[in-house]
Each structure stands twice: as structure tokens, then as C-alpha cells.
């Protein structure tokens, strides 16, 4: 039977045509009507659990969920009527009835989807009163706090963890009123297979998942007279922090960001970009050495701490392929407490290194014993997410949008455009190729832009020809894509030389610590990803320095302090080790 390709229907009396298979929710969006939603997410499988998207369809006595109902020829949909408004309000009131009434003291106050929905639907009084669920909060993880008392059982976290990240750490346990979302056997998060990526935090509509708060320790360090507080800012922050202050998604704010950090009282404002350029120097050297020996290929990147945890729990046999390079954050921190401390004549004990990261897993990474100094102190003392920094700026009372442009301090504030693009999926690859091309050809001007590795696609692959040599590369974002890529490498189906893996879908710009999306946009929205990436590529294009090895501060660092890339001192400070960890994840 031929199926009709185009369907005619009316929504609130307005006729429209949509392709067959479109859901009522998607059709309504074409008219600019954003139906309320909690469990629905366009990138995840359908749950149909929350029911707040119900609509009326002519000829039917019961309401239908717009997220799951496909349109049919001649369908007449009503999205707003007193009955529907009442039904939606009842649903939200029942959710609220089983939810702590502590909005004013909640971390999501002001950007909670449940709170927003209650306001939108006109819940102005509480008619229901009943038993409330009470579960203990799990703060065992260094990255993610799980607070099931605030959970509304929408299941977004369960699905993002399984479907996007391929981790499957979360599941609904029990049934009925006692249902609770948590890891296997409801064990502590730090004993679970969690890889700390924080995508559960990013997609949670309420405060059931949050990052571990480091703001208090930063306020304290800033207030302590003896502490020399040094801050470093990840590439992705400059493309996203503006969103916290109402700027359109994709507005670059590098200069204002630096000024805001100075206003907050940081003694020195450095750029993680510097560490990114350094990572390229070390990683490119490592890569070229492996290529010349033809061993342990493909080289897998190691910048993403979520990916590193995934590697150790899910694919420990791939450890030997993974670059031993520390992440740019850890390289920068290690140099602040050695190179910079020496230059300044400071005792590393008096230095507090704060890292501003798009990432929740960085909090875990900073606490790893591998990243601890000989005296037992961590190289990185605190990690703030973009959201936490945004809040600190607001909390201080700084009017971000009127700030003048500032500049990073020297020398660890000088960076190339190659470092800026680290924040987007494919960016590390492109940065590595820029430098590797020059090293391989010996020519000053190699290819600069590699369009093949740009964009939000989950897996990208290409063969790059440099100096007659063919380099097979692959880039993945979202760990479920990494699984596919790793399986194809293991089976021998694919032969790559260099592989970039980022844990979060879209790379760091879509990290678990990034600002929550604006109203009417979903977390993980590819449009947000594109706009943020565009901001980074724009910054790169405007820079004089485009290749990491051209960074004069890096050259100076090697000459003055480190010696050779991959040399003994570099290895001691800039490289790390990995090990198989339990519990073992399911692939």
C-alpha cells in the first residue's frame, strides 16, 4: 500500500502540511507552539511518561500525548482549551505534591523546568497534600550529586546515560511510589560504573542531578590573604559564558570573561589554551614517534576526562593506544605549580589553582591521585563549571555585559587559534593536524583548516594526505559513538592513525557543566552546539597565531624550562598513566 507522504491537519484551527510520521509536538513547533514537556527529548527515545504535553483531538474523548502521537490526514488538534490547561495543571500539581517545596533554596531556582512549567501553566495554589518521597542524597561522587528527592522520574538521565553515552549506569529501581533512579543496586555513585561526564546533570529538568559545588572553596581562597589564587579558563568557556547573562547562544566573550575574573579577585588569569597548545606539542611528538615506529596505532586522544574514565572502565585493553598526555587543564596546573611558581619565587603550597571548565568530570580528574604533587596537594585545587562561574559573577554583583575587554596574563595566557577550537568536537584533531602537517612536510605553511573534522556529526572520518603520506583519522563525540569507533578498530575493520574521542555530544561546548539551554530549547540541541562551535572557529580565524607550535610562549617554555617535547622533564610534568578500573562497564 502506498503511504501518503504529506499529511494535512489543523492545529488550533490553523491548517498545515507536514510529512507523514511527524508527531503532533513537532507539527505544533512548525506553528511556533512549544508544547510543555518534561520527559520528552528530541535526541532520546520516547518515554511518554510525564503526560504534560497532552492535547485534544477532535472525535476523541481522551487526551493524547503530543510527543508520541503521529499526525494523520484530517486530524484536528487543539493544544489549548480550558480542559487541557486544567489537565496539564493537575499533572504538574501532582508532581509538585511529591516534590520538596524548597524552590528558594534550591540550586536550580530560576532555571528549573518544573518551576518554569508550574508558572507557565498557572499553578498559583496548592490543592493537593500528601505523602512526599524522601530519599538520601548521594554525594559520594567527586563530580555528580544525586538527589532523588527532587526527581520527577522523567527518565531523561537514564536515557542519556544509556543511549548517548553508552554507559547505562542509571535505571529506575523499585515500583510505584517507591520508584527511585540510581546506579545498580542503588550503590553509591563513586562505586558505580559512572564516568562522571555529567550529561545527567545537563538533561535533568530539576535538581535531581547537580555538580559538586566548588564555589565555597573558591570564595574562601579568594578571601585568604596568603593565598595566591591563579585561575585558568578552558577554551569552551569563552563561547558559552555569555548565555548566563542573556547574550545570544554563540556570543564570544573572551575579554569580558578575563575582566570578570579580575573583578572577582583572582591574582593571575591564565588560559587553559596555553595547556592546549602544549598538549599539541606533546601529542604531535608522541604521534609522529609512533607513526615512525609503526606501533600502538591509532593514537587515541586523552583530553576528555569522561572519556578517560570510560576507557578505564569499559575499554581497558585500549589503554596502550591512548596518549599519555595529561589534559590541557592538568598540564596548565602542573606548570603553574612548578614553572610559574619558580619564576615568581612562590611556594606551590601558597598557590591555589582554580580551573573554569565546561565539564563536570574535571572535578573528578582534579582529584585523581595521578594528578597529585609529591607533597600530597592536588595540582588543581578547585574546578568551577561554566554555570558555577556565572553564578559567582552574579553573586558578586558584577554587571557582566558592561565590562571592558581584558587580556590574559603572560606567559600562560598566550595561545594559538588551534587551542581555541579544542572546545568543539574535531578541534583537537584539527589542531594536531595543523602542527603534524608542518612537522611532516618541514614546510612553514601547511594546510590550516580541515573542514572534514568539523561539525556535529557523531563519527567523522577522513584520510588526509600530507607529504605523500596518507593519514587516516576519525573523530567521535558522545561515548556511544566512541564504542562504535573502538569496536571497528578492535575488529580490524578500520585502520586509523589518529583518533579524537570526546565524551560529550558536541565536545566540550556541550559539556555537563555548560549553561542550561534558553527557554524553548532543549539540552543537547544540535543548534546550540553549532552556534557555540561557530564562536570558537570565529575566534580561531581572527587570531594571528593559528598553529600551536608557533606559540612563542610555548617555544620559550621548552627552551627555558622543559627541554624537549616528550623529554624527561616533560614526561614527569605533562604525562600520566591509566589503569583498568572496576566496576567493569558493559559494552
Amino acid at each position: 500500500m502506498m503511504t501518503k507522504q504529506t499529511i494535512n491537519l489543523t492545529i488550533d484551527g490553523t491548517p498545515l502540511q507536514v510529512p507523514a510520521g511527524t508527531t503532533v509536538m513537532k507539527a505544533a513547533e512548525r506553528l511556533g507552539i512549544h508544547l510543555p514537556r518534561l520527559c520528552y527529548h528530541p535526541n532520546l527515545s520516547l518515554e511518554g511518561a510525564c503526560r504534560v504535553c497532552v492535547v485534544q483531538v477532535k472525535g476523541f474523548n481522551h487526551f493524547m500525548t503530543a510527543c508520541s502521537q503521529e499526525v494523520w490526514e484530517g486530524m484536528a488538534v487543539q493544544t489549548n482549551s480550558p480542559e487541557i490547561r486544567q489537565a496539564r495543571r493537575d499533572i504538574v500539581e501532582l508532581l509538585l505534591d511529591n516534590h520538596p517545596q524548597d524552590c528558594q533554596t534550591c540550586d536550580r531556582d530560576g532555571n528549573c523546568e518544573l518551576q518554569r512549567l508550574a508558572y507557565q501553566l498557572g499553578v498559583r495554589e496548592r490543592l493537593f497534600e500528601g505523602k512526599k518521597k524522601e530519599f538520601p542524597t548521594d554525594e559520594s561522587s567527586k563530580s555528580v550529586i544525586r538527589n532523588p528527592s527532587k526527581c520527577i522520574l522523567c527518565g531523561r538521565c537514564v536515557r542519556v546515560c544509556a543511549e548517548v553515552q553508552g554507559v547505562g549506569n542509571l535505571s529506575q529501581h523499585g515500583r510505584g511510589f517507591n520508584t527511585v533512579v540510581g546506579p545498580a543496586n542503588l550503590c553509591n555513585m563513586d562505586e558505580s560504573v559512572c564516568i562522571q561526564c555529567g550529561q545527567c546533570v545537563a538533561v535533568c529538568p530539576t535538581a535531581a542531578f547537580l555538580e559538586q559545588d566548588h564555589t565555597e572553596r573558591v570564595w574562601k581562597a579568594l578571601a585568604a590573604e596568603k593565598k595566591h589564587v591563579v585561575v585558568q579558563v578552558a577554551p569552551a568557556i569563552r563561547a558559552t559564558l555569555g548565555e548566563m547573562f542573556g547574550l545570544p547562544v554563540g556570543t564570544p566573550v573572551t575579554g569580558k570573561l578575563v575582566t570578570a575574573l579580575r573583578r572577582l579577585g583572582f591574582d593571575e588569569v591564565f588560559d587553559t589554551n596555553f595547556g592546549a597548545d602544549l598538549t599539541i606539542m606533546e601529542e604531535a611528538t608522541e604521534f609522529l614517534s609512533r607513526v615512525s615506529k609503526g606501533e600502538n596505532l591509532p593514537l587515541l586522544t586523552s583530553c576528555s576526562p569522561g572519556w578517560v574514565s570510560f576507557l578505564e572502565k569499559f575499554y581497558p585493553e585500549m589503554i596502550r593506544f591512548t596518549s599519555t598526555c595529561k589534559s590541557p587543564m592538568q598540564m596548565t596546573s602542573a606548570l603553574i605549580k612548578s614553572y610559574y611558581a619558580e619564576k615568581k619565587g612562590l611556594d606551590p603550597k601558597d598557590i591555589c589553582v582554580v580551573a573554569i571548565m565546561p565539564c563536570v568530570a574535571k572535578k573528578f580528574e582534579a582529584g585523581r591521585p595521578e594528578h597529585t604533587m609529591a607533597n600530597g596537594d592536588p595540582y588543581t585545587d578547585a574546578v568551577l563549571t561554566t554555570r558555577e562561574l556565572g553564578w559567582m559573577i552574579k553573586s558578586y554583583g558584577i554587571d557582566f555585559n558592561v565590562l571592558p575587554e581584558g587580556e590574559f596574563d603572560r606567559p600562560m595566557g598566550i595561545s594559538s587559534g588551534a587551542a581555541d577550537i579544542f572546545g568543539a568536537t574535531g578541534g583537537v584533531m584539527e589542531a594536531a593536524l595543523r602542527t603534524a602537517a608542518v612537522k611532516l612536510t618541514g614546510e612553514e605553511l601547511g594546510p590550516l583548516e580541515f573542514a572534514e573534522v568539523r561539525g556535529v556529526t557523531g563519527i567523522k572520518e577522513a584520510t588526509i594526505k600530507i607529504n605523500g603520506m596518507e593519514i587516516n583519522i576519525a573523530v567521535s563525540n558522545g561515548l556511544n559513538n566512541a564504542k562504535k569507533l573502538l569496536e571497528s578498530i578492535k575488529s580490524g575493520e578500520k585502520n586509523y592513525h589518529l583518533v579524537e574521542i570526546m565524551a560529550c555530544p558536541g565536545g566540550c561546548i556541550m559539556g555537563g557543566g555548560q549553561p542550561y539551554p534558553p527557554v524553548y530549547q532543549d539540552p543537547m540541541d544540535p543548534e546550540i552546539s553549532r552556534a557555540r562551535a561557530k564562536a570558537l572557529y570565529g575566534i580561531d580565524a581572527q587570531k594571528q597565531l593559528r598553529r600551536s607550535h608557533e606559540n612563542p610562549a610555548i617555544a620559550h617554555l621548552y627552551a627555558e624550562f622543559l627541554g624537549e617535547p616528550n623529554g624527561e622533564k616533560a614526561h614527569q610534568l605533562l604525562h600520566t598513566t591509566y589503569q583498568a578500573r572496576s566496576p567493569r562497564g558493559i559494552r
Binding site: 544509556a162 554507559v167 547505562g168 549506569n169 542509571l170 535505571s171 529506575q172 529501581h173 523499585g174 515500583r175 540510581g182 546506579p183 545498580a184 543496586n185 542503588l186 558505580s192 560504573v193 600502538n296 581497558p316 585493553e317 589503554i319 596502550r320 599519555t324 616528550n566 624527561e568 614526561h571 604525562h575 600520566t576 598513566t577 591509566y578 589503569q579 583498568a580 566496576p583 567493569r584 562497564g585 558493559i586 559494552r587
Partner: protein
């Protein structure tokens, strides 16, 4: 300089430990399913087999099922905690079922159940520390004339008051003591 650890593939060790936990027929069933599409759909069947063999689903057996069938452990424990049928603790020597059917309920089954929980120190679905009793609730047993009733193993007792429950439990404990001597 080489910073890499030598061998890091720990899968064979994990697999061997899991194979030790489960009996051969369950392992064979899991392996035979592995080639099927949607093999994870057999999870409930596997859990039934595990419970039939061990009497309950233990953390070690569920972990072994998860690894050998390659189903995330959270999913396994999620399913196991959803269904009333699955027991997460070993079954006691004596199974006590309190009827919560309508007739027993109106005749005070709730008070009987509460006394049992207080005396045994456990809730429905749990087993006493000494492994002597497991407690559960049940729907109508068809002996409404005796309401409220409690079934211990295959024997029905009723009508019972909370005080009768204490006497009944004491009898079983005494019987066990005599048998032990």
C-alpha cells in the same frame, strides 16, 4: 620512556569469576541467546532461572548475569527490584504469607502483619537474620471463613489475633530448637 602499563585487558579474569558464580545450565542459556537479536530481551527468563536455582537474586549472581549477558547491571537490578516475584534475599526456612485479601483485611490482617514485622524485625520481602523466616503478603487464599489468615509454608492458620501470632511464631522457634538438639 614508556608510561604505559603492560597488560590491562582484565576481561578474561572478570569472565572467569562470573562463570564460577552461575551453574552450567544458566551459562549455556545465556550463551545460546547471545547470537540472537535483542538477546537482552531474555533477561527476565535468565533471572527466573537464577531464582529457581538459588532461591533468590544475589548481588553476585546479578553481576554475573550482567557481565555474561552484557546487559548493564543497573538494568538488571532495575528489573529485579520492579517485579514482586523476584526475591533479593535468600528465602528463610519457613515462608510466612499474610493474606491481605479483602476479607482478611477488614478482619484486621494489617494488625496481624504489623505484629509479625515487629516480632521478626523485618518487612515484607525480607528474611530474618537467622534465616528462619521470610515474610510476604499474599492476595486471597480462598479461606475467607477463617479470616484473618496467615500461611506458614503450606499450612493455613486462622482466625488470628496479634497475640496468636506471637504464640504461633514461638511454636516454630521451639520446634527448630528441639530439632537442633
Amino acid at each position: 620512556m614508556n608510561h604505559q602499563t603492560s597488560t590491562t585487558d582484565n576481561w578474561e579474569a572478570i569472565r572467569a569469576a562470573c562463570l564460577d558464580v552461575l551453574p552450567a545450565h544458566i551459562i549455556a542459556f545465556i550463551e545460546q541467546n547471545q547470537d540472537m537479536e535483542h538477546s537482552e530481551g531474555q533477561l527476565i527468563a535468565v533471572l527466573h532461572m537464577v531464582q529457581a536455582h538459588f532461591g533468590f537474586l544475589g548481588q553476585d549472581t546479578m553481576h554475573a548475569v550482567a557481565q555474561l549477558a552484557q546487559i548493564p547491571l543497573a538494568k538488571v537490578t532495575g528489573v529485579a527490584t520492579f517485579y514482586h516475584y523476584f526475591r533479593l534475599q535468600p528465602r528463610g526456612k519457613h515462608m510466612i504469607n499474610v493474606c491481605l485479601g479483602t476479607a482478611c483485611y477488614v478482619k484486621g490482617a494489617e494488625k496481624v502483619a504489623q505484629r509479625l514485622m515487629d516480632e521478626l524485625g523485618i518487612h515484607f520481602g525480607e528474611t530474618t537474620r537467622d534465616g528462619l523466616f521470610s515474610l510476604d503478603s499474599t492476595r486471597c487464599l480462598g479461606t475467607c471463613g477463617l479470616a484473618p489468615v496467615v500461611m506458614v509454608d503450606n499450612q493455613v492458620f486462622g482466625p488470628l489475633t496479634p497475640t496468636d501470632v506471637s504464640v504461633l511464631l514461638a511454636k516454630y522457634v521451639k520446634k527448630e530448637k528441639v530439632a537442633a538438639e
